[in-house]
Subunit: 864 residues, 2 copies
């Protein structure tokens, strides 16, 4: 045993060394020398070795993607299942209350109306207080975040809690709201929190690019575990959140979404809700003859009508929001009583769905889930238009009305739900619009299907076999088409296959979805883009398909030519001027105003910092101190400064806050104690010799006191503070004069952070390519250069204008102002050549002043 | 009527003007003034107006994407259907021959073997003669083309014909070959040809970026109409051809693939093959309980085993190809008799599948399609392991053998087909490997399923209901898993759903496919990447998932630091030196060797052209002529040159070829006629005054004879030719001397084509981001700059090495040589600062020589 132990230790040491060598490349961790010493001591050393090895192994595995994805999938499946459970409980409670009070209609009504109103109001209030970012769908925000824009507070724990609880309450109220969009947001927050949690075990999760990729996978998980539709989830999340996607991320999405959907459904099996894993809304259409070829026109009609319907929904939704905002009286009133609007909307909607009231004409007692189940039902409700022939069973009862037929019920349902959904999704609670739209689409499909069934009672097929029309299939097609139209996606087709567990209607669904998309895309932006516009998030519109003129617009047509720049040899005054004259966030840094060679870009804040540090009070005071020194002829001794430090730090506050905190009081003390200011005006000429002496002294200091670096730093800081107090004795006029002097100095860029390779485009880059590059790399500006020379700049704003200009101006296409110059391709290359020639000439003059003559053509070069 | 006519004309003119104004932006077409004149004349003018309007409308519509996509879908559906028909006929003919000769086994064998051998040999010979590019799958080539690399002759009509006919014959032979990959290629060729055809109607199809997008859509159409699987087709084509995908193209793919699949299936209905549109390999598994939760481990086993199998298949396929190439004797023999190898392979494979022979143990008589149909069958073949219980029906008969059981048949089938498919796909005919692998996977799945059914005769579920195990479901899972493993895709899952028309097994399929991918991806590249490597196509390996060390490697670790460059003020000698010392295709152009500011990049060929034009004989002769003029003291009169022109041009050859053709003979004549060379050595000092006089003269000429520009150009050209003949009187020594002089001149870049904005990276860009950018933008090199200064270069080669280095070196990770320097982040920013400081200092010195002192720190700046 002891022998083995030694051997173990030997191999362990070898392994350890190898591992350390390997890990060196990945994560430079601080090594603990105590670990290795430990093994030779103690009694249960082998156990400890083993435990340590396991721990290390686990920690190293935590960094791998698949562990993260499995954890994400697991957490999201649990969250999804728990939320579903809570929502189902809420809905059941409402039903129970409503059912228990069936003796009194008024009490029933009160219960029916109060319950959702309370829930929605609570949801609105809770999210408002905890995290207003949790309001709404979340897909538009995720789209923006995945573009590389950082939205504050969108991926925090607070928002997570607010979204989960708010969404549960909102959906538990039975309002026509969806959970898909919020789930995308919840999954993203989950991923962000998880990666922050896992980064406690190692530094793997600190990479920005990786986190973005994980967020993309998380979006897929969100949709996937919401509908138990992994494939549809991945595709839908790609379509709604990305302009470009990497096939890499696609794997991650599939993996996580499948795992998540699997766990989500397994939980249902374990909970004995289901016998095995099946689809959420399983249909049982016949397999051998799902539809006739001659039914396809009907499916196409559903598609086209859904396209118009979808566009109308988006329009209606936007108009409601805009109306609320524009009507100032309403707006002011609602801003004061934030919870009134949700309560009011809920009150109206629940009143209209009250089953004994108007609800009886629109199957008001059914929950969203029950509605879908009934709409996807296998049976035909209206055989030859007569209700009585068909006996409604159980849940289907809701669609029957003694004094009207099923068509009327369906039409009323569609019309009422349409505006209700559009209105309900504007309530400031966490909610999506996918599911309500899906239900409306299903109802519309069912209506068409029932009409077809009534029209052709024995099916269309004229051969020997009679295949009746399946209205449930129409409902599936309608659901996919309308939700596809509203969201501008085709993956809703895949989602319905996964939701229903049947793929037999693939061609009708695909045809309807594509037609719906074609119609809707030409009329309105998608619901998410519409919200992005309403919320004014930094976005880039898509290039529609078929706009081939986009290939003809070039960067030179849209770029800003008159840009402000910083030159390498500029003065602080120039910086000030640039800051005053432009609002650009990134300023180009060029070699000189003549050459205009782009060297990099510098952030506006950096420029500001440069300027403020140049004009900072402590530099001024330093200068003042030097002047004082020069005049007095003797300088302050080091010890006196040290003394002052000790008195300053004796108050117990650490040095760093001490630097910041006393600044304001110190400055404020200036007018209160003007008595002890030194004589002004006489301090103009600084003695350079003495100053250099002083400098030499401070420069020599580090070599003699290397060990006490911290103390020294503290000392220097404090001395600055001290000098500040010492030196606010300049009059405003003096300060102004000093500042003017400072502004005339050349800028020292060495302390500034410069982006050494900002993205560059050429004048001839097409709008199409520019859009591609901007959306691929998530840029918000790019400089346009020509052979190294800065000639212009394109930012998101210009790009957006250019795209929208040619998108909206369909009839009257705006000819880009400079496009005509380019029709003759020769001229552009000539311009290029000229630019190069200029540069060349300049260099000729520059480097060889002996050859002052003009460049000349190739033909008459003199052989030397 | 006449009044209406006038009115029509008025509105027409207005419309016309509007349209012309609009079209101006799109395509500057030559306007035909005769068109407008026509309307006022003639008798049936209104008809003509109408016809013209219609024509214009149609032509303008032809440019729209959807028209193109519909046409593409239609054509591909027709091609696919026609090919399927031809293949089915071929296979039936073989069956008929085999069946008709059942009296004599030897004759049967001859027929069974000869038929495929002839077909394969014809296919190989036909493609070899017509277009060798048609050989093989086509997906690797399409992947390369979509990356932006131009492969010659890959998208021509010749290749299209060769591929279609070759593929039909190859598949008609009954060999284990697939049609999926070739269909991707065929669809792409179709798109390329179609766009070339449609460009006859307008200039819409001349855009490069658009054509690439259309090719991406065409790939989706190829898969989509091959399997009637639009969604799976789109996803599969994305996975195998792209690294990054634009959601824009995704629409196109869906649209075209759906239309194509629809037409493809409608053709089957119209041909009375089917009653309505259903899946290709329709399954009829039970819907209510597709699988038990406890069966999932079996599905996972299928997935993992398929992963290993897929990797083995790729390995085997590559080894066969490499063996053929390496064995020199075999190789030489095969190169001589190109058709022998296909014939031999076919002979072996068809002998082994001969049904009365060994084929009886492996269902040899079934075609690929029949095999799949039987494998996906709903029934259980081996109830409790005893064959007799189950009566085999019709086509299923093939799997039964009187002296063995179904397990043996399946195992033999899998083993034999495995190496046969790997071998057959190396035959130089148009063929893919997807379908054979799919069939093998299905057989493996069936084997596992039958084993499970034999193990649990009454199903696993222990509740009241008995749900028997469905081995067909296992076959579906196996097919998806193995084909997914070989191609490294997850979309095979979607393809099987669409192929079988059932989605009930979604979770087992997804789990198996993901596991198979995880295993296969860690062992081998995908089949297509393997072929890319074998064929040495310009490719960029994928970044695997989970390799987070990629985020830690940076451009500075992999870039080439010692690069050759061209400076703006360099001499021709430098150009020559650069051309000799490097093989880079693109040379960076920097401002000067000191500043190293990157101005652009210049192609190697351009540099060569600059150099050769500088040293060209006609420049030399021009120089000589000037010398002659100087010596003689009088110059040739203009009129004499003109005379010589007329004699030169009278021979009838145009001026331009005359310039090129005589060059070589002229050079060769040099040694033959050394007698008439002018005295050498005396021409050393060129008279500058006279030369400048001459120059002034030629410079003045253009102003006085602007009208006859063409004649003048011709004259100049001819005069050069004339001078060439006149001047080959220099001795080689003289020529050398002259050339040396020329090389010392400064380069004039004005005639060279310079890329003004080559792609730039920074030293800190991560390998991950670099890979992303390279694959997104299809780059093959990028320059690394630091604040405008060129510091290095990264090309595909370096990137590939870096990725493969860290991919293959899994155990022993190669630490990038410079990575250690970067661990302290401070040092890099310091380096940056230093670089900037240098630049700044240089400028300080440069622009302000009066301030020669060192820059100094911020603290001790002297206020001026």
């Amino acid at each position: 045993m002891y022998g083995r132990y030694t051997q173990d230790l030997g191999t362990f040491a070898k392994d350890e060394a190898a591992r350390l060598r390997l890990q060196e490349g990945d994560t430079p961790r601080p090594r603990r020398p105590s670990e290795l010493l430990e093994y030779t001591q103690g009694r249960c050393a082998p156990c400890r070795v083993c435990a340590l090895q396991c721990q290390r192994f686990l920690i190293s595995k935590v960094g791998e993607d698949w562990v993260f994805l499995i954890l994400l999938g697991l957490v999201m499946a649990l969250v999804s299942w728990a939320m579903d459970f809570a929502i189902a409980t809420c809905l059941q409670a409402q039903k129970w209350m409503y059912g228990g009070l069936d003796t009194n209609v008024l009490l029933q009504y009160m219960a029916w109306v109060t319950y959702p109103t309370v829930l929605i109001t609570f949801s609105a209030g809770f999210t408002q207080i905890l995290a207003p970012q949790a309001v709404g769908s979340g897909i538009p925000e995720m789209k923006t975040i995945l573009r590389g824009v950082v939205l504050k507070e969108y991926l925090t724990l607070k928002t997570f809690v607010a979204k989960v609880i708010g969404l549960t309450c909102a959906l538990g109220s039975g309002m026509p709201l969806g959970k898909e969009g919020p789930f995308v947001h919840i999954a993203s927050m989950c991923a962000a929190l998880l990666s922050r949690f896992l980064s406690l075990f190692g530094g793997f999760y600190e990479n920005e690019a990786r986190n973005i990729e994980m967020l993309a996978a998380a979006c897929a998980v969100g949709v996937g575990c919401c509908f138990a539709a992994p494939i549809g989830g991945v595709l839908f999340s790609i379509e709604v959140t990305s302009t470009f996607f990497a096939v890499r991320n696609y794997w991650r999405g599939f993996f996580a979404a499948t795992f998540s959907a699997f766990i989500f459904r397994v939980l249902a099996v374990w909970n004995k809700d289901e016998e095995t894993i099946t689809a959420l809304f399983k249909t049982r259409f016949r397999l051998d003859f799902p539809f006739d070829l001659q039914e396809l026109p009907a499916f196409a009609v559903i598609g086209i009508a859904s396209g118009f319907g979808g566009a109308l929904f988006v329009y209606l939704n936007r108009k409601i929001v805009q109306f609320m905002r524009r009507q100032k009286t309403i707006n002011r009133f609602l801003m004061k009583k934030r919870l009134l609007f949700p309560a009011l909307v809920t009150l109206i909607i629940s009143t209209l769905t009250f089953p004994p009231g108007f609800g009886q004409f629109m199957a008001g007692q059914l929950t969203q889930k029950d509605t879908l189940v009934t709409l996807f039902d296998n049976q035909t409700w209206a055989k030859q238009g007569i209700n009585d022939e068909f006996e409604y069973l159980g849940i289907l009862e809701a669609w029957r009305h003694p004094r009207s037929n099923v068509f009327v019920t369906l039409v009323v349902f569609i019309l009422m739900k349409f505006w209700m959904s559009a209105l309900a999704t504007t309530i400031p609670v966490p909610c999506g619009a996918f599911m309500p739209v899906f239900v409306i689409g299903a109802a519309f499909g069912r209506l068409v299907g029932e009409s077809m069934a009534a029209w052709f009672p024995d099916g269309i097929h004229t051969d020997s076999n009679i295949y009746r029309i399946v209205p449930g299939g129409y409902a599936v097609v309608g659901a996919a088409a309308l939700s596809g139209a509203v969201t501008h996606t085709v993956s809703t087709a895949v989602i319905v296959f996964e939701l229903t567990g049947q793929i037999s209607h693939i061609l009708p669904v695909m045809i309807a979805v594509i037609l719906a998309n074609a119609v809707a895309q030409s009329l309105q932006p998608s619901l998410y883009d519409s919200i992005i516009r309403i919320k004014k998030l930094p976005y880039l519109p898509e290039l529609g398909w078929g706009h081939h003129e986009k290939y003809n617009v070039r960067v030179e047509d849209i770029m800003v030519r008159d840009i402000h720049y910083v030159t390498l040899n500029c003065k602080y005054r120039d910086l000030q001027q640039v800051l005053h004259s432009t609002k650009m966030k990134n300023l180009p840094l060029v070699e000189s105003a003549e050459s205009m060679i782009l060297l990099g870009s510098i952030e506006r804040t950096q420029v500001g910092a440069l300027l403020s540090s140049q004009l900072s009070p402590h530099r001024r005071l330093l200068a003042l101190r030097q002047k004082v020194l020069t005049e007095d002829g003797h300088r302050l001794s080091d010890s006196s400064i040290r003394f002052q430090i000790s008195t300053e730090t004796s108050s117990g506050t650490p040095a760093r806050p001490a630097l910041r905190k006393p600044l304001k009081p110190a400055l404020k003390r200036v007018p209160s104690s003007p008595a002890d200011s030194p004589p002004a005006g006489s301090t103009d000429h600084t003695g350079i010799a003495l100053k250099s002496l002083f400098c030499a002294n401070t420069a020599a200091e580090p070599t003699e006191a290397q060990g006490t670096a911290y103390h020294k730093a503290k000392r220097v800081r404090i001395s600055i503070v001290e000098e500040m107090i010492l030196g606010d004795k300049m009059t405003p006029a003096e300060i102004l004069e000093w500042e003017e002097q400072q502004l005339d100095q050349l800028v020292d860029f060495s302390s500034a952070k410069i982006d050494p390779a900002p993205f560059q485009l050429v004048e001839h880059t097409s709008l199409h390519k520019t859009h591609t590059i901007f959306s691929l790399l998530g840029l918000d500006h790019a400089f346009v250069t020509s052979i190294g020379r800065l000639v212009g700049m394109v930012s998101l704003k210009e790009l957006r204008k250019a795209i929208e200009g040619s998108l909206t101006g369909k009839g009257v296409k705006v000819r880009p102002p400079l496009a005509s110059f380019r029709d003759s391709t020769a001229s552009t290359t000539e311009a290029d050549t000229t630019a190069l020639r200029q540069l060349w000439d300049r260099h000729q003059h520059h480097h060889m002043p002996r050859e002052a003559g003009p460049g000349g053509d190739d033909d008459d070069d003199t052989p030397k």
